[in-house]
Symmetry: C2
Subunit: 581 residues, 2 copies
């Protein structure tokens, strides 16, 4: 039983499930379904696949995640950024609207799913931590801007193309004279209504007597209200015959499970994009999952999450869908609406299934501008300009990482942007790691404490050079420590003893040990004795069998105080001896 709940986290969630929890899950499922219908259609549009594919990607994947995922309230399905990245990845593979394009989208989901599950099996969940918050924030902000711009063509009722600022802006400007006024009017109205709904509607409802909670949930229905209203307007006024682009025929019914024939060439072409989409989707998903779980002392297992999201993507591929992940805003809504367990997700899937079976004929008259407006308003909420100010204030490295990510994403595309951001932040971290904090220390009079000679009034001895490094010693910073010591010796020829205080060294690697060995030899040739103090257990174990230990000219002291005392006495004794000659 314990084992089962490890591989199927839902088992643990359903312990003690009762009617109260069932009611909560049902309400949450209803709210999320209403939100998901327009979103799934809209993100299908963004990814370049037929609208029903958005619905297909919102059924089985939710069931798969409910079975294998660890978050009780994460809402899995199509999301904005993964949909944009899908469109970008498939751009050079096939033309939108062809069956080859859809096949490629399915293969992309399948590969993402397999990659995520492999990473989960290898327990590589921690690697998501290598995407710094600044890179992720910058990437989301820039991608949201690209997504909003890419949807402007539907609002204007023109055709435009491109997935970077440099392509989109001129393309839109060129198409501007062809703007369809009816489409524009409808699109702008929906955008304004959705913005009003988000900012004012719930407040208005509260004033009209609704409870804050109910008002908040009702405001979430705004996108589905826009869908219903614009369908009615188009249907009644037959605006589809007057140039307003509509979704058109959407096949009724559930997807038939299966997979298309897959060529190796296609797999090779899509492997890298699938990896990038998986990682970005995973990071997005786990961050919201963690935040929500923490509020109830629930735990997200980052490796099991990889399995859960992987299963969701494989399920999406099997139902003819495209890459999915845990969406930020939908998950928050699910949580706020009271979702208690993964069953909320299962019921949401059922809601979408009912939609696919009975409501698709009504979608014929749905204007594309409505969906575009839904996307635009959704992604505008993701744009966070304050990241520039916050990182600028705190750290140059983070600011540079944000800047590189944003510029890369806007001007060179999503994949280039996120890659440049990750390389920059890791590069800056490594560059930084090559310059550890090292300080010369001296004894604070009347104590046994040793502190930085530059910040405290401390006692030192002219023939003893005591120093402390505030990091573990490894290949990237070993050379810097060596340089630091040698530079000091070059400028001060009195020194006869070097004591390295190792209190902050948790680990030592081969390069560092080789450096210490060479340093010991170099010091010996200069007639300088090399001591260590406060060496931690694991480091001592590593040093013991090494050549360094055998050749060490000095001693290893338990404390820096003892080292300083012993060596001071030694030095004085030698001087007394010399002066006695």
């Amino acid at each position: 039983m314990l084992k089962l709940s490890r591989y199927l986290p839902i088992v643990a969630s359903l312990k003690g499930y009762d009617r109260g929890l069932l009611a909560r899950d049902m309400i949450a499922a209803l709210v999320v379904t209403i939100m998901l219908i327009p979103q799934s259609l809209a993100y299908a549009l963004l990814a370049g696949v037929p609208p029903q594919v958005g619905l297909y990607a919102s059924m089985l994947p939710l069931l798969a995640y409910a079975l294998f995922g660890t978050s009780r309230t994460l809402s899995v399905g199509p999301v904005a950024i993964a949909s944009l990245m899908t469109a970008v990845a498939l751009k050079d593979v096939a033309e939108q609207g062809t069956s080859d394009y859809l096949t490629a989208a399915i293969v992309l989901a399948l590969l993402s799913g397999i990659l995520l599950m492999v990473m989960g099996a290898l327990r590589l969940g921690v690697l998501a931590n290598l995407l710094s918050h600044s890179v992720v924030s910058g990437f989301i902000t820039a991608s949201a801007l690209i997504i909003a711009l890419s949807q402007m063509k539907h609002i204007l009722g023109v055709s435009a193309h491109g997935d970077t600022l440099l392509e989109l802006v001129p393309s839109l400007l060129e198409a501007l004279p062809q703007t369809g006024m009816l489409t524009l009017g409808m699109g702008v109205s929906v955008i304004l209504f959705l913005l009003f709904a988000r900012r004012q509607l719930s407040r208005l409802l509260v004033r009209l007597g609704a409870s804050a909670h109910v008002a908040g949930l009702l405001a979430k229905a705004a996108p589905v209200l826009s869908v219903i209203a614009t369908i009615l307007v188009v249907y009644l006024l037959r605006l589809d015959l007057q140039g307003v682009a509509v979704v058109g025929e959407v096949p009724q019914g559930l997807p038939v499970p299966g997979l298309p024939a897959v060529s190796m060439a296609l797999v090779e072409q899509l492997l890298m994009p699938a990896l990038v989409i998986s990682i970005i989707g995973y990071v997005e998903s786990i961050s919201v999952g963690k935040t929500l779980a923490a509020r109830h002392r629930q735990r997200i297992d980052s490796d099991q999450e990889l399995i859960g999201l992987g299963a969701a993507n494989v399920a999406s591929a099997v139902s003819g869908g495209f890459p999915v992940t845990g969406g930020f805003s939908r998950s928050v809504v699910n949580y706020d609406a009271g979702a208690a367990t993964q069953l909320a997700g299962v019921m949401t899937a059922m809601g979408i299934a009912l939609t696919a079976m009975y409501l698709t004929p009504w979608l014929f008259y749905l204007p594309r501008a409505t969906l575009a407006a839904t996307i635009i308003v959704a992604v505008l909420a993701l744009i966070d300009i304050s990241i520039f100010r916050d990182t600028w204030r705190l750290s140059t490295g983070d600011f540079i990482a944000v800047l590189v990510t944003v510029i890369g994403t806007l001007f060179f595309g999503v994949e280039a942007g996120v890659a440049a951001g990750v390389v920059t932040s890791l590069g800056l971290h490594l560059y930084h790691a090559t310059k550890p904090h090292i300080t010369e220390v001296g004894l604070i009079a009347g104590t046994e404490h040793f502190r930085n000679v530059e910040r405290h009034s401390v006692h030192t001895h002219p023939e003893i050079f005591s120093l402390r490094i505030d990091e573990s010693l490894f290949f990237a910073n070993a050379g810097y420590l060596e340089d630091f010591i040698l530079a000091r010796l070059q400028s001060d020829r009195q020194i006869r003893h070097v004591i390295l205080m190792c209190s902050a060294i948790n680990e030592i690697d081969f390069s560092a040990l080789e450096m210490l060995e060479a340093l010991n030899v170099a010091l010996a040739e200069l007639g300088i004795t090399f001591h260590l103090s406060e060496v931690k257990g694991p480091v001592l174990d590593a040093i013991k069998p090494s050549a360094f230990m055998q050749e060490l000219t000095g001693e290893i002291f338990l404390s820096q105080f003892q080292a300083f005392k012993t060596v001071s006495r030694l030095v004085s004794a030698t001087e007394d001896g010399l002066s006695g000659l």
Copy 2:
């Protein structure tokens, strides 16, 4: 004056230069010249360029390095690994023996030089530290093996090709039946003589009455003795007419400075190889330079070294040469022979110039087998199998890095090998960084010290969770700390206060601050107060203006002891209050 010596380190070296130092430099120059003549010819052979190019690369580059380099005793010129990497880089660019090939070699040197100087100007010297000792050792060992194997064709007097084990071994085995017995005899004799010279000759000379120092230096003349002896044998017995391959016509005189016409296509093709050769050459050079400088309290400026080696490579290109760097064995010989300043290098260049002007006609009869033997014996000394055992004993990460580098280099080529090694060692480091050392701490009775609860008998409070992280907090490890705290809270519902001891946090980045902010909110929702203790100055400065500081539910304490005392009292007071109800 100060400025001048910064950009021309030789100025400082020549202060107080006298006849004593001059004599030392002259002797060293003589010894190194004798060693360099066969080496420069041999490495030209290895790089696939005509023999005189080896001499050309051993004049101007030495002068350029003497002017701009900071090591007084580094011997710059053609070296084994850079020569092999040159041959590998040019393999697909042009055919050996053509003028296009030589042009490409010159362009490679020019690009290396420019790249090194640019890195120097950007002060990127510390980046060399990112090549771990295990990667460098593994790479050198594997490359040496490849070099030795690649020279076997000259010893056997056959033709073979390839630059990986998989290509070289079958190619040699196939050619084995064509072995030229005269060539083989000569090659094997030279190898045996050189091995004898290295291991026994100096000992023998000492027994014959020479001083150890002189005997050591005389033994270095063994390669040049082999050259003279085999030239004589070939010339007298006209072995060149009996199938022994000789060097043939070597143009007499000095190179005419100049540069070939360079196409952008060629530059693009050679840019990456030039970068790899530059970095490897730099790392090799700086490590020996540092070791030697330390023995005399001299300093190597790692950024100025980039300039020095860059200038040497540009100088090599201008004289029609190929990539050069500071050689390990020659530098040690230079140092041991007493070289005191960069003038030893200048005089070595003069010695090679005299060789090029007057001695080249004698090189006609020099057997290629002799040069190959020189290379083989030189590189065998670089093979270090103990690296496997040493790293295995010390750290799995280092062992894996060595293994990946060696296998990569042997089976996939030098560039792939070093790239795989660097990626592996950096990847392992980053993976490791995502799992920092975190420990729950408690108070050691009767003291103010807090230690690991698992290793010491300490005092804790059931409602207070005190913990310490032993690293700076940044994007890669922030998530792990968050997980650690949340996991503890999930398993222990009594906890009302979390105190994070920040004594080891030297820095904090944007991601970590965002995590702390989110964690504080999550803890607040659970009714848990979050405190910090022992926050260092720079970290406090970073935290102060942040949203985290404004929202922090608890306090920031100067010491962990004070934090624990204050919070314990707080908890007791609340309990007393409750029990009083």
